[in-house]
């Protein structure tokens, strides 16, 4: 048990490690009160046979290592297509017999990510986990189950709310959290956002990847590439604004010869495809808000999440908002950690008594 002492009415929190976690469909980021900040791919792999087990020297591998050796592994992305997080089995394409494996993968991933924070032995680990705005009770319960045994106590909050809390923009602000699976929009008005304050769009990072893949396949039928290669190209050279940058890739052609392909237009078109939904969502949230504060809210649009790193996205949204009287879009300082940082801030601010109530 953590040593605690009541000093002048305050409780010292020695021996407690607070963790904020953003379990993403594609990447998971974590921040802890001991200064740890890590991001890893949300993928878990088990060796396919004794040979691969011997080669890897492990019974289970995670993140980049799992991606690297995926051919020798049975891999699962436990939150892919919203599985466990915001979709039911059918929606996420998870066969009922595979659900147990997905849950196990989620549990192992959470354990691994907490281990990345190196909690000292005997330390209490309290965590706040972000969940998408549209997550159901069953999804939230699944996330809590995944945390059982790793955290002493855990709480779930909506991801955009975690971002708002972390950036201290709790009033008259619109949060846009662009992840891999979903884009969550949330209206902040000085209270915990309700369902009416949140909109989720399925057009996010994965949507861009798939669309870019189709467009590139049409434009460059000679190119050989995978979705991972497209994602990599997007992360290195994605942009949506009219800039002079070129997105060039060296991919094998049909003969296997490395060839330069210009995928600028395809990437730009795919990246831009998420903007109309974001603007429509923002407009919907603003128009149903108190008319007196609508303008102020549009002046405080905050972009977060890995998808917000698309260069020029802020300007493009601002341009689209002009038809509604204009707006000011700001990108958070660390888009990838925005959710985890906010969740950590929530965890650290949470009174000790509250944790005891959810143990």
């Amino acid at each position: 048990m953590a040593p605690e002492a009541e000093i002048a009415g305050r409780t010292t929190k020695e021996g407690v490690l607070y963790i904020g976690m953003d379990l993403g469909c594609y990447k998971t980021s974590v921040a802890a009160t001991n200064g740890t900040r890590e991001v890893t791919q949300s993928i878990v792999g088990w060796p396919k046979d004794p040979v691969s087990r011997k080669m890897l020297g492990k019974d289970i591998v995670f993140g980049d290592e799992a991606v690297k050796h995926r051919l020798a592994l049975d891999t699962i992305r436990p939150f892919e297509k919203g599985a466990l997080k915001y979709a039911d089995n059918a929606e996420a394409g998870v066969k009922p017999e595979r659900l147990a494996k997905f849950k196990e993968a989620a549990k192992e991933l959470v354990k691994h990510v907490v281990q990345l924070c190196r909690p000292p032995k005997g330390t209490l680990v309290y965590g706040v986990i972000g969940s998408p705005a549209r997550a159901s009770i069953l999804n939230k319960q699944a996330l809590m189950d995944a945390c059982k045994g790793t955290f002493e106590a855990v709480m779930i909050v909506s991801e955009p709310f975690a971002v708002a809390y972390g950036t201290n923009t709790l009033e008259d602000a619109l949060i846009v959290d662009i992840g891999a699976g979903t884009t969550d929009l949330c209206r902040m008005h000085g209270a915990i956002p309700t369902e009416e304050d949140q909109i989720t769009s399925g057009k996010a990072g994965d949507y861009i990847d798939n669309m870019a893949m189709d467009l590139i396949a049409k434009a460059h039928p000679m190119a050989q590439f995978t979705i991972n290669m497209v994602r990599d190209a997007k992360e290195r050279g994605s942009f949506v604004n009219d800039v002079n940058d070129k997105a060039m890739v060296k991919w094998p052609n049909k003969e296997g010869k490395p060839t330069d392909f210009d995928i600028t237009m395809q990437l730009k078109e795919a990246c831009s495809a998420i903007v109309p939904d974001i603007v429509a969502g923002l407009r919907k949230l603003v128009s149903s808000y108190d008319a007196e504060f609508q303008k102020r809210m549009l002046q405080n649009v905050i972009l977060a999440g890995g998808g917000s790193q698309l260069r020029g996205l802020d300007r493009l949204i601002e341009k689209d908002l002009e038809q509604y009287g204009g707006g000011k879009v700001t990108r958070v300082h660390e888009p990838v950690f925005a959710g985890a940082n906010g969740a950590l801030k929530l965890a650290a601010d949470m009174p000790e008594d509250y944790w005891k109530e959810v143990k």
Binding site: L138, K140, Y165, L346
Partner: protein, 329 residues
């Protein structure tokens, strides 16, 4: 800075007696022709002359900046009286002059402070960048050590040193026993075999102790070095962060930049002391707790009714919903 020609209060601003009158209104007209005033009243001095006077450093303030500051000072005062709805015309010119001068000095001071703070920030940033690079290199080195790539040399030195020490210790032990044997042979020769037995027991014990000590030393040595380095780095980083904090605070109090912008920056950096949302956050935390308790309770209820992620609609022939378990808490 421009005047609004349609602003009726502008007409009530009297021309200053000792200075050229402000240009007539019109789009783009300035409050005071400061550039012209500076040109007329300034004296051109050769740098060599200044050096001869013993001046080693000079402060530079551009004409544009001076104009901006003076105009800002006058505007602030005029605005003040406008706000008071007193009307500038009713205020003695001397008072306006004095207050303008005071306002100018204050603005000049804040401008200088801001410039200094910006310089400090830049320096701090460069230091932090350097420090981070140093930490990065050190981390790489430590990783290499942990991987065993660089440990050979270090360990070799440690082992060689210890081996010599062990040999010396063994020599001393042998010497002590030999000396004792010589004495015993003269005084008590029947005890010599017994002493040999003791020696055979003692020497391995000493060797084991030394080996254990070597291991402990190795570990303790590594940890202490690492800790020292970390502490040193942390001290440096704290100093830099303090400098940045101080610089940012100075900027935040400046009138020259937008306070809102600066305060937003401070908030983003987590340096803002005052949290206007503190009370709101407390309430929100309570709501978060209640929502989580509700999720747990409803999750348990749904599970009891057979509603799961794999079967979100529940069993086909759903039995009547189970009563939630009585929870005395």
């Amino acid at each position: 800075m421009t005047d609004n020609p349609s602003d009726p209060s502008k007409a009530s601003v009297p021309p200053e007696p000792h200075k050229p009158a402000a240009p007539a209104g019109g789009a783009g007209a300035k409050m005071i022709d400061v550039q012209g005033m500076i040109r007329q009243s300034s004296q051109r001095v050769n740098i060599d002359q200044l050096v001869k006077q013993g001046r080693k450093t000079i402060s530079l303030l551009s004409k544009g900046k001076m104009e901006e500051l003076i105009n800002q000072a006058v505007k602030n005062i005029v605005d003040k009286y406008r706000a008071m709805a007193a009307g500038v015309a009713q205020v003695p010119v001397g008072q306006i002059e004095a207050e303008s001068k005071e306002e100018f000095n204050e603005l000049l001071q804040t401008y200088q402070q801001t410039a200094k703070a910006k310089e400090e920030l830049q320096t701090s940033k460069e230091l932090l960048d350097g420090e981070l690079e140093e930490m990065r290199l050190d981390l790489e080195k430590q990783k290499a050590l942990a991987d065993g790539r660089l440990s050979e040399d270090a360990e070799k030195a440690l082992i060689v040193g210890f081996k010599e020490f062990e040999r010396e210790l063994d020599r001393q032990v042998v010497k002590v026993f030999d000396k004792r044997k010589t004495i015993l042979q003269e005084t008590n020769p029947e005890q010599v075999p017994e002493l040999r037995e003791v020696e055979n027991v003692i020497r391995p014990i000493i060797a084991r102790l030394v080996a254990a000590e070597r291991e402990r030393f190795q570990m303790a040595g590594g940890q202490s070095r690492e800790t020292q380095l970390l502490e040193k780095r942390m001290e440096k980083l704290y100093a830099q962060i303090n400098a940045m904090e101080s610089a940012l605070r100075t900027i935040s109090q400046s009138k020259v930049y937008s306070n809102q912008q600066i305060n937003n920056l401070l908030r983003q950096l987590g340096l803002s002391n005052e949290d206007k949302n503190a009370e709101k956050k407390k309430e929100m935390l309570k709501v978060v707790l209640d929502l989580n308790k509700l999720v747990k309770k409803e999750g348990a209820d749904l599970a009891a009714r057979g509603i799961t992620l794999s079967n979100p609609t529940g069993p086909a022939a759903a039995p009547p919903p189970a009563q939630p378990p009585a929870n005395p808490a």
